[in-house]
Amino acid sequence: MSDLQSQDYVRISASTITPPRARNADEQVAKLIDVTRCIGCKACQAACMEWNNLRQEIGYFEGSYDNPMDLSPDVWTLMRFTEWEDEKGNLEWLIRKDGCMHCEDPGCLKACPAPGAIVQYANGIVDFISANCIGCGYCVKGCPFDIPRISSVDHKSYKCTLCSDRVSAGLEPACVKACPTGAIMFGSKSDMTDWAGERIEDLKSRGFANAGLYDPPGVSGTHVMYVLHHADTPSIYAGLPDQPKISAFVDVWKGMVKPLALAGIAMTAAAGFLHWIVEGPNEVQPDDEVNGKRALNSTDDR
């Protein structure tokens, strides 16, 4: 997406300074995806394509309801279908709308080396500012949900923007607008959490004892949340991570390695300079030349 000045940043990738935060009244937003009300019609996928002007190349039928088969630079949201049998042998058709979760603690933004290529607005939306993206793929490594996709055409990373352009103008995201069953809702995060609570209570009364809200604490919560009938095992929903968190490798790489590395380089250079001013250069002395020549010629004259 482009840079939207009407929304304040709370985080800017590859930046060591505090982003400007004069206005701070923004309410945290959230998209609530009620998996239990989804009928798998893919209207959200179509609406996403329409609003964002994305056209994935036509592929081939691969024996699955998933279409296309994966997220891509041109597919920012995707229905993932799972045929799951419960312990009693009953078949359940689990349909999950996959896409960016808009983590409160975004791994993509932490990993990004390009200043301002990934930002988080005060309302919680995590957005890619494509003009600043260098196409390195670090966001892919930072993301605990396997969401960003790098385009092989323009070498930029793409993912769901939560329709930040619509939200900044007071509209709901396109997928929310298009959903015919109200399975996708949008509003303030507290309202969505309340609404999810009602839904979960209803599901529990209808026999889904493990119904619950997916708002994983490992990434400090997300601005896209799911109501799941089996919230105890999110992974049955096409591999939704049970306990997502930023990889420890990424934490080390983007955490302590950075300052330690710069300190190590600076100290080595300083040690060299210190040696120079204490001991100075090691210069060949005139008697070395005399001895050197003698050593060479003594054997020559044998």
């Binding site: 590395a261 190590g264 003698r294």
Partner: protein, 228 residues
């Protein structure tokens, strides 16, 4: 190729060209790599025409360096074999650092410090190359899992920092020990330089009537003599 009379060939022309290709690649890799490593150094990407260009050029330069460094390994590995003398030399490192080389064991073509630089880079360069391939997103991202790439990028950055630290030591040593820089730019050293820093190497050359860089090499070149 002409060297001043009475001097010894320290590095052959091929080795010097090979070295400076490697050096140029290393400096470019360091600048573009540090740009992608720390936000405060991102400005270095401007030297390459911006972040996209730095990201795109870095792995290609790395590939050239890998090939180039392989050439250095071929040309230098024999003279970098670790010997018992190197241990004795390391024990006297304080005298070496204090510019007092009398009493320090005589050194053949390379001393223990130079061998350390050689073997460290021989380990680090391939490590950087292979982890670099794993995170070369444009061509190789589909061959490994994201988790493997996370490990690769961490190893890549740690190895790069180690290589930069060793590179600083290498460059400083060349500035500190006068005559070393000329050895790698023009290719020759004086007998006095060899006597002071690599006496065993000098003696071996003298025994074989060689002008260097290895015993037996350059025997056909008549050497200017300074008869007493």
């Amino acid at each position: 190729m002409s060297y001043p009379k009475g001097t010894l060939v320290r590095h052959t022309t091929a080795a010097r060209i090979n070295h400076w290709i490697t050096a140029a690649c290393f400096v470019l890799l360091m600048l573009s790599g540090l740009a992608m490593f720390h936000p405060m150094l991102f400005f270095l990407s401007a030297l390459f025409g911006g972040g996209q260009w730095a990201r795109a050029a870095h792995p290609w330069i790395g590939t050239v360096l890998m090939v180039s460094y392989a050439g250095l390994i071929v040309q230098y590995w024999r003279d970098n074999q670790w010997t018992r003398d190197d241990v004795a030399w390391m024990e006297k490192i304080d005298r070496v650092l204090a510019n007092q080389e009398d009493g320090v064991p005589q050194v053949a073509r390379f001393n223990a410090g130079q061998k350390f630089v050689f073997w460290s880079m021989t380990l680090l360069v391939p490590a950087l190359f292979f982890t670099g391939l794993m995170i070369w997103d444009v061509y190789f991202s589909t061959y490994t899992t994201i988790e493997q790439q996370r490990v690769a990028v961490l190893i890549h950055s740690l190895a790069a920092i180690a290589a930069i630290v060793i590179w600083i030591i290498h460059v400083y040593a060349a500035i500190w020990v006068r005559g070393s820089m000329q050895a790698m730019t023009r290719g020759y050293v004086t007998p006095g330089w060899a006597w002071r820093h690599h006496r065993k190497w000098l003696r071996r050359l003298a025994e074989t009537h060689s002008t260097g860089p290895t015993p037996g090499a350059g025997r056909d070149i008549p050497r200017a003599r300074n008869k007493p």
